[in-house]
């Protein structure tokens, strides 16, 4: 029997607070840690499969035209080559997150330079790579298609537009105002593990060992791409070497490996080369954002405008949802927002960590800093004055929102009171500045299933096709089950990453922990009820701890109560009325200290602090690590990260890790993170909200605001590389 649970009403019972095991929230180590630190966790391209052949993908050398493989027969005869494949079903670009169906397919016409238009399969990787490089690819009848979003054709996204009150009038009559354009470049998720798949067929049944974030969708996407029934497809992703959005949807290598394995009658591994990760997975759209703020003399916002231009390939509907948090973060009666989508022949735009807020809040927070400076008040105080009582557009209540506390507590922890004036502090050749920004991210609950089995020996097993992409899923699902069932953490086994298991929400949009966690919670509640029933009482009166049940002043080991039986519960969570009844979001604040070199304009982040409120924290250690990761993405976004597109053909010129500069260890100081105690009853029965992306949503602005404080230079065009800093010095 499946336990159905729909989140239709706030969970005010806060049952987790009544539990006795003391696991939820505790900063426990990751249970899979010993495997990861010893190199024995098995990632996609590491399964030892007999008879494995290797496939290497081939790119289109331009952005339009019919693909011609002039020497394919010669390549097919090269040493060790098993096949040269340009099957119609190869993906043009990856599927968007939660697409649940194949994206645009077909390798015969190039839509962007770097599109993967063929796979060459050989006995060895060395042979496959050389053969792939030997394939002569030309484009027939192609012309250079538009690649620049500022000049390309634009499609207004009218359903995303808002016009409330009269922003123009508010701007005209404002005591203080800001009207500025901020631009952010494209970013690449570029996880450390390149996208890789090993496909194995047994008859008509396909097993794909892949590196994916959302397996239930990925299975349907793969089946749809191949034209087979989803029941024929099993995907295994027990360990995923990072995703950050780029492994949400099915990527080209999975389809290539599957087709190749079928064709050559052997298992085939296809891993993207690092340049292909940059050229053919997903990019975050570059953005151009006009932010308008109108305020009265005291800094109370009377108007807020946010107009954005983003881009994507023809045929793709995804438009970076920049405005998400602008709708609810600050007050202001007169509001106007709009989105335009430019059609360009650059690689596909999709989700990169915290789509929307990562760049949207950043621009808004730069504008807020400009406004504070204009008015002459403390930037923290400006934010405090503009925390709306209710959602400024819908009038709904906020579910839980410890935004003010994050601002105050963060300022205190950082030592914000010591903030220098603009261009006031210097240490030798280094100009020192402080900056801050708010953090905000929407909170979402997604459908999710999990099976929990209480075994006769008193151990438990959690099973779901949920993934752990570094987010801590193995840790927290075990903690939730252990807490609810009164078991030590190591008495719970967590099995993940297999589509043969109950389908989960997948890892994305910061919803994974709360959604999959709630399904585990619900299953455990059902087990508790059954145990209570066995003991002849009510679940509410049952205490489970250390493998024993206490009821009516009697304590008995679970194994004894179970008496050789096991209790299996499958739980099915569905989001419900609480999603729309209130405004659900997570909040926080960042504080940064930078040093800018007076001669070179190089910026180094010296200190950075984040205070975050995201409901109940399920594991303080892994949650903190997620915040460290988000803040570091913010450092990269602020200072170095930019996909550099060739201005003519739009290819990613810096398609490698030497020139696409993600932060290195020396770029990141010992960041500090504070997680505020919070319960959000509207979010789910655990009162937990998403924490995986909050740490990036505005982080870059704290750094660029600090650069202004240090130097007096406003860099509105990200990243704030030294050339842009010295241009203003």
């Amino acid at each position: 029997m499946t336990e159905h649970f729909k989140m239709d009403a706030p969970a005010t019972d806060r049952r987790l607070d009544d539990m006795a095991q003391g696991l939820v929230g505790a900063p426990l180590d990751r249970p899979e840690g010993p495997l990861k630190v010893s190199g024995t966790a098995t990632y996609a391209d590491e399964w030892q499969v007999d008879g494995l052949a290797h496939g290497v993908l081939v790119r289109a050398p331009g952005n339009s035209g019919r693909v011609v493989l002039a020497n394919r027969n010669a390549v097919a005869r090269m040493d060790g080559v098993l096949a040269v494949i340009d099957d119609d079903r190869l993906l043009r670009n990856p599927a968007q997150g939660t697409a649940n169906e194949a994206p645009i397919q077909g390798p015969h016409h190039a839509a962007y330079m770097g599109q993967l238009i063929a796979v060459v399969v050989a006995e060895s990787f060395e042979q496959a790579r050389h053969a792939a490089q030997s394939l002569e690819v030309t484009l027939e009848g192609g012309t250079l298609m538009p690649v620049d979003p500022t000049t390309a054709a634009v499609e207004p996204q009218e359903s995303k537009n808002l016009d409330q009150g009269d922003l123009d009038a508010a701007m005209e009559t404002a005591a203080h105002s800001v009207d500025a354009i901020y631009t952010t470049p494209s970013h690449s998720s570029t996880p450390m593990e390149p996208h890789a798949s090993i496909a194995t067929w047994e008859g008509d049944d396909l097993t794909l060992r892949g590196s994916y974030q959302m397996l239930k969708y990925n299975r349907n996407e793969l089946a749809d791409a191949l034209g087979i029934h989803p029941d024929r497809v099993r995907i295994l992703s027990p360990y995923v070497g990072g995703g950050f959005g780029s492994k949400l949807g099915l990527a080209p290598e999975a389809v290539a490996a599957s087709i190749a394995a079928k064709q050559v009658g052997r298992p085939v591994s296809v891993a993207l080369q690092r340049p292909q990760v940059f050229e053919a997975t997903m990019r975050r759209s570059e953005t151009s954002q006009r932010v308008r703020l109108a305020a009265d003399a005291e800094g109370r916002l009377t108007g807020l405008g946010h107009d954005a231009l983003v881009s994507n390939l023809p045929g793709e509907t995804f438009a970076e949802p920049i405005l998400q948090a602008s709708h609810f973060l600050y007050a202001g009666a007169n509001r106007r927002m709009s989105m335009d989508l430019a059609r360009v022949h650059r690689l596909c735009a999709g989700s990169v960590r915290a789509p929307g807020e990562a760049v949207g809040v950043t621009a808004l927070e730069n504008a807020m800093d400009e406004l504070a400076h204009e008015i002459g008040i403390d930037p923290v105080e400006l934010r405090r004055r503009n925390i709306p009582e209710k959602d400024p557009e819908s009038g709904k209540d906020y579910s839980s929102r410890r935004f003010r506390e994050a601002l105050d507590s963060g300022a205190e922890a950082f030592g914000w009171a010591d903030r220098p004036g603009v261009k006031e502090r210097r240490e030798g050749e280094w100009l020192i500045g402080y900056g801050m920004a708010s953090a905000a991210r929407v909170n979402v609950l997604m459908e999710s299933q999990a099976r929990v089995t209480l075994l006769p020996d008193g151990r438990a097993r959690v099973e779901t096709d949920m993934t752990d992409i570094g987010t801590g899923t193995y840790a927290i699902l075990g903690q939730i089950a252990g807490e609810m069932l009164g078991l030590p953490r190591d008495a719970v086994d967590v099995v993940l990453g297999d589509t043969a298991l109950p389908p989960a929400s997948g890892s994305g949009g910061s919803w994974g922990a709360s959604s999959s966690g709630t399904s585990v919670y619900v299953a455990c509640q059902a087990i508790r009820r059954q145990l209570a029933e066995r003991l002849g009482g009510e679940e509410a009166d049952l205490t489970l701890k250390d493998g024993s049940a206490t009821f009516d002043n009697q304590t008995r080991p679970l194994a004894e109560i179970l008496d050789g039986d096991e209790i299996v519960k499958l739980a099915h969570l569905q989001p419900g009325d609480t999603s729309d009844a209130v405004r659900q979001a997570t909040f926080g604040a960042y504080f940064a200290e930078v040093a800018v070199h007076a001669a070179s304009g190089e910026t180094r982040v010296r200190r950075m602090h984040g205070s975050f409120a995201a409901g109940r924290i399920l594991n303080a250690k892994t949650a903190r690590s997620q915040c460290l990761g988000g803040m570091t993405f913010g450092i990269g976004m602020a200072l170095t990260e930019e996909l550099a597109f060739d201005p003519r053909d739009g290819h990613v010129a810096n398609h490698n890790l030497a020139e696409y500069h993600i932060a290195v260890n020396a770029d990141v100081p010992q960041l500090t993170v504070e997680l505020l105690e919070e319960r959000d009853d509207w979010a789910n029965p655990m009162q937990a909200k998403g924490i995986g992306e909050l740490g990036i949503c505005g982080a870059a602005a704290a750094i660029t605001n600090a650069i202004f404080n240090a130097t007096g230079v406003r860099v509105r065009d990200y990243p704030a590389t030294l050339d842009k800093v010295i241009a203003g010095m």
Binding site: E429, S600, E602, P647
Partner: protein, 328 residues
């Protein structure tokens, strides 16, 4: 990577002979294999010189240092003599690459590493250095990291080495060996060719000529620093770098050796700039003039225009630091 014959050289002469017959030397391999994987370089044969006896650092009679071509970047940076007497070289090495790469990369290989121009690395784009006559996609492309000095209409690549910049400032020479056993010494500044109309030709070395050692003259008076300006705090190529050795006596500059990285197809040194400084009293005005002279011919190509003001600011800052420290 194309198939190739692999052989290990028994002696330096053997290595030179194999190379004269068409093989490519491989030492650390950190750049060669990088390029071979992309088939930007596709030698038909490799001659592995790693086991040759070229990994000594020896003191020369003239007080200088003879550095075997196979001395790794780590060993060179860590050598106590280098740290003490030629610190600009240690600093330059330590500013380059990563700990792992420095353990593998060799002195000779570092000098001969190829440009990091993104178009050179991408076979789908035009590059006169990779495919002579195909054109230069970088000129009108993404050229942020490329050169502003010494370029030609055919190529605007930079030489990426940090080590070579310090060696140029130190007046290093390259000692080579040919297959007939003859040797020659080439001042580092003469080793590299400017691109002109043949950017595929990068050095004066003949086919089969093996770099056996690099020699440094005896230590000179003056303070030494290596200033590297880059996008990341570590593990990034220089946008601009300056190796400076400046001596000051009674308020006047008595020596100014200055070499520059990130600006040109070779480690750049301009004797006129050094002459302008020598004998003069330190001042910002003087440093500004030196920068003007250095950059008089500089030409940007759009995204790399900033290197001109950046080089100016960096040079002035380095000279300030060197002259202050030296006089303190």
């Amino acid at each position: 990577m194309r198939p190739f014959d692999y052989a290990r050289a028994a002696t330096s002469e053997d290595a030179a002979r194999q190379a004269a017959e068409g093989a490519t030397f491989i030492a650390g391999g950190t750049n060669l294999l990088d390029l071979m994987k992309l088939e930007v370089m596709a030698p038909s044969a490799l001659v592995d010189i790693n086991r040759l006896d070229l990994n000594q650092i020896e003191e020369a009679d003239d007080g200088g240092l003879r550095i075997g071509a196979l001395v790794t970047n780590s060993d060179l940076a860590n050598d106590t003599r280098v740290r003490k007497h030629w610190p600009v070289l240690s600093r330059a090495l330590l500013a380059g690459a990563s700990g792992q790469l420095r353990n593998k990369a060799t002195t000779g290989g570092n000098l001969l590493q190829r440009t990091r121009c993104l178009y050179f690395y991408d076979r789908a784009t035009a590059c006169n250095k990779r495919d002579p006559g195909s054109g230069c996609a970088a000129r009108d492309g993404f050229n942020r990291i490329l050169a502003v000095l010494g370029t030609s209409e055919h190529c605007i690549a930079t030489h990426p080495s940090d080590m070579a910049v310090a060696m140029r400032a130190l007046g290093a020479e390259v000692e080579t060996l040919k297959q007939d056993g003859s040797t020659r010494r080439i001042p580092l500044g003469d080793l590299y060719l400017l691109p002109g109309d043949r950017p595929d030709r990068e050095t004066v070395l003949e086919q089969g000529e093996l770099i056996a050692a690099v020699t440094l003259p005896a230590p000179v008076e003056g303070r030494q620093i290596y200033r590297k300006v880059r996008d990341r705090a570590s593990y990034a190529f220089a946008l601009v770098s300056v190796a400076g050795i400046v001596a000051v006596s009674e308020g006047r500059i008595t020596r100014a050796n200055l070499a520059f990285g990130g600006l040109a197809p070779k480690p750049w040194r301009n004797a006129e700039v050094e002459d302008l400084l020598t004998g003069e009293a330190s001042s910002d005005a003087l440093f500004g003039k030196a920068a003007d002279l250095l950059l008089a011919e500089a030409q940007g190509f759009g995204a790399n225009d900033f290197k001109i003001p950046l080089a100016r600011r960096t040079l002035v800052s380095v000279l300030r630091e060197l002259s202050q420290e030296a006089s303190a």
